[in-house]
């Protein structure tokens, strides 16, 4: 049946996640962080990989979602699913409002605005101690049993499965968005905003919506983090967090959705393994990795995988892939990969 076949990627993701559950029952804390990170990276892929909006402040939506869900759980209602919706709404709202500023400009200015917005929010969170707990962070977030049935145990089992299901659902939603007219329009905007305007598209509005959608999913990731770890810190809004998710996405490859998943898994596992290493060595690794990806590996790991796959199948240059980044300057001679064929194959 066609509709079942369409859900293959989601099913695969779910199965992989469940396998992890049984394979490493003692490391569910790490696994949960990877799942949340993957959702965060997916949200950035929509904004950056598909709509081409460069941001160094995506952590703002995550952090706002986390704080909103945390405060909601502590002061209003401890039910988790509504907490997710609160997180999504908060992320979307911040994205919508700041988007007005970010999307009016381009180049360095727009990147700076994304950064400034995140920093301002961080400062506000740091000062607003009555609500956010200030520098100490928001703690004591206790969440009610999921659906009234599943308690959040301290082994993290409920937490992990909860996060996994949310990830799979969001992944499915995003795949849908990306295969839709709106998704195709986002890619068009990424490639050539002016041409889209000449085709009659209301480009600012499309971008605002894409940015807000990305904010919503980031907010959900933040809410998950708040509910499962039961704590929200200022670092969730910080530049390091924004830089990390950017690195994860680029490593995995933008514009392909599953690249975000791959990049997160690789990055966070390596980070975990390297945790005991000198922070400077870790920094060196990330730096070298970024340089390598930009100079030699367009499309990140997923791009390389796709190319390898087509070579193995003897298909030569046929298979579609995506550029690492929004359209290169006009006149440049490097062709950094190929696009997904959105009308035919959904990634």
């Amino acid at each position: 049946m066609r509709s079942l076949r369409n859900l293959l990627p989601e099913a695969a993701l779910l199965l992989a996640g469940i396998a992890v559950f049984f394979v490493v029952p003692d490391d569910l804390g790490l696994a949960t962080r990877v799942v949340i990170g993957a959702l965060f990276a997916l949200s950035l892929d929509l904004v950056l990989g598909y709509a081409g909006i460069v941001t160094l402040g995506h952590a703002a939506m995550f952090g706002v979602g986390a704080y909103a869900a945390g405060v909601f759980a502590v002061r209003v209602w401890g039910e988790p699913i509504s907490g997710l919706l609160v997180g999504a709404a908060a992320g979307a709202a911040i994205a919508w409002i700041s988007g007005k500023l970010v999307l009016r400009s381009h180049g360095l200015t727009s990147v700076m605005i994304t950064l400034a917005v995140a920093q301002v929010l961080l400062e506000v969170a740091s000062k607003w101690t009555s609500v956010t707990g200030g520098d100490d962070g928001l703690s004591g977030i206790a969440v009610q049993p999921l659906l009234g049935l599943f308690e959040f145990d301290f082994m993290g089992r409920t937490g992990y499965l909860y996060a996994l299901v949310v990830l799979v659902l969001c992944f499915g939603l995003l795949r849908r968005v990306v295969a839709s007219p709106f998704g195709l329009a986002c890619v068009g905007i990424r490639e050539d905003r002016g041409r889209m305007a000449a085709l009659g598209y209301d480009v600012p509005r499309q971008m605002s919506i894409a940015y807000a959608m990305g904010g919503a999913f980031a907010g959900v990731a933040g809410a998950l983090s708040a509910q499962i770890t039961q704590v929200v810190g200022l670092s969730s809004l910080g530049f390091a967090h924004s830089a990390d998710v950017l690195v994860m996405l680029v490593l995995g490859g933008t514009g392909r959705l599953w690249g975000a998943l791959a990049g997160t898994v690789v990055f966070m596992l390596v980070h975990h393994a390297a945790a005991n290493v000198d922070p400077f060595r870790w920094m060196l690794m990330i730096g070298v990795m970024l340089v390598v990806v930009v100079m030699a590996l367009p499309g990140g790991l997923s791009g390389a995988a796709v190319r390898l796959w087509s070579v193995l199948l003897g298909r030569g240059r046929g298979t579609p892939a995506t550029p690492t980044s929004p359209k290169p300057r006009a006149g440049s001679s490097d062709a950094a990969g190929e696009p997904p064929r959105l009308g035919e194959v959904t990634p």
């Binding site: 460069v54 160094l56 400034a116 920093q119 680029v250 060595r281 920094m283 990330i286 970024l290 930009v294």
Partner: protein
């Protein structure tokens, strides 16, 4: 009144240092449209090079500083030729990613080589301590920073208005292809401009070490400040950059006097306000896209 004078002097000093360091970034952005998030590495490298030269080779402060500036400028040339030049035509995201990678590599290298702590340079006597200028006692190094800033301003003005290099820079900023057609070797202009910017950043790092202490995290810590000054000032506009540096530096310094925990917030809010009002910067030109 004395307070006002103090704030003024400190703002000027801080603003000047920001200006000296950020000039290179502004020129690179306006001239080559290259977003260099790693610019702060030049400033930090200047400081570390000066320390190394003074320490290992026993050179005096002035000589160490001079050599460090020249060294950083010299190293920037092959860097530009090999890596940066390939990125001019790449997308903004690629440039951002690459230069962030460079920042991490730079910080890590410095950290692994020199360790995490500061190793301050031994200042010559005339730069040590403070000097009484009547209504206030101000650290001599800070006064020196101010003076150097003014000298740099003068130097830039001379370079851009009285030399052939300056003319070539302005022409290339305005119309790169036309400049090529007129025989200006734009690649050479880019290299020299890049080296000039790197050297100035190194100078700023050394001279500003009192207000902005140098440690391995320096490039990242002050990255936002440099970028803010450049985007608020408008690319390739030294007067705009100066105005922005003084404005942002002034606001942050003033805030530090009255409500120090709000200093950062005010800094960012000012940046947001200016960029919202004039996205191309205070003195930038509106791009026709």
């Amino acid at each position: 009144m004395a307070l006002l004078a103090s704030i003024l002097i400190d703002s000027l000093a801080y603003g000047m240092i920001l200006f000296i360091i950020s000039v290179g970034l502004s020129i690179t952005l306006g001239l080559m449209r290259f977003v260099n998030l790693a610019h702060g590495v030049f400033a930090a490298a200047g400081g570390y090079a000066a320390i190394f030269i003074a320490g290992q080779l026993g050179a005096g402060y002035e000589l160490a500083a001079l050599l460090a500036v020249l060294l950083v400028a010299a190293i920037s040339l092959p860097l530009e030729a090999v890596f940066v030049r390939r990125l001019y035509r790449r997308s903004q995201l690629d440039q951002v990613l690459f230069t962030i990678g460079l920042v991490f590599i730079g910080m890590a290298s410095v950290g692994l080589l020199f360790g995490n702590s500061l190793a301050p340079i031994t200042l010559p006597t005339y730069l040590q301590g403070s000097i009484d200028i009547g209504f206030r006692v101000i650290p001599r190094q800070r006064l020196a920073a101010l003076i150097v800033g003014l000298l740099v301003l003068g130097l830039l003005h001379w370079l851009l208005t009285r030399t052939r290099f300056g003319v070539e820079v302005k022409a290339t900023v305005d119309l790169p292809q036309a400049s090529e057609a007129l025989g200006i070797r734009t690649s050479r202009v880019y290299s020299l401009a890049f080296a000039l910017g790197a050297g100035l950043a190194a100078l700023g790092g050394i001279v500003g070490a009192e207000l902005m202490p140098i440690d391995p995290y320096y490039p990242l810590k002050y990255l936002v400040a440099f970028l803010a000054v450049v985007s608020v000032g408008g690319a390739a506009s030294p007067p705009g950059l100066l105005a922005a540096a003084l404005l942002l530096g002034g606001i942050e310094t003033t805030a530090k006097y009255f409500a120090s925990s709000y200093a950062s917030l005010l800094f960012y809010l000012t940046m947001l306000a200016v960029l919202t009002w004039r996205p191309e910067g205070l003195f930038g030109r509106k791009e026709a896209r």
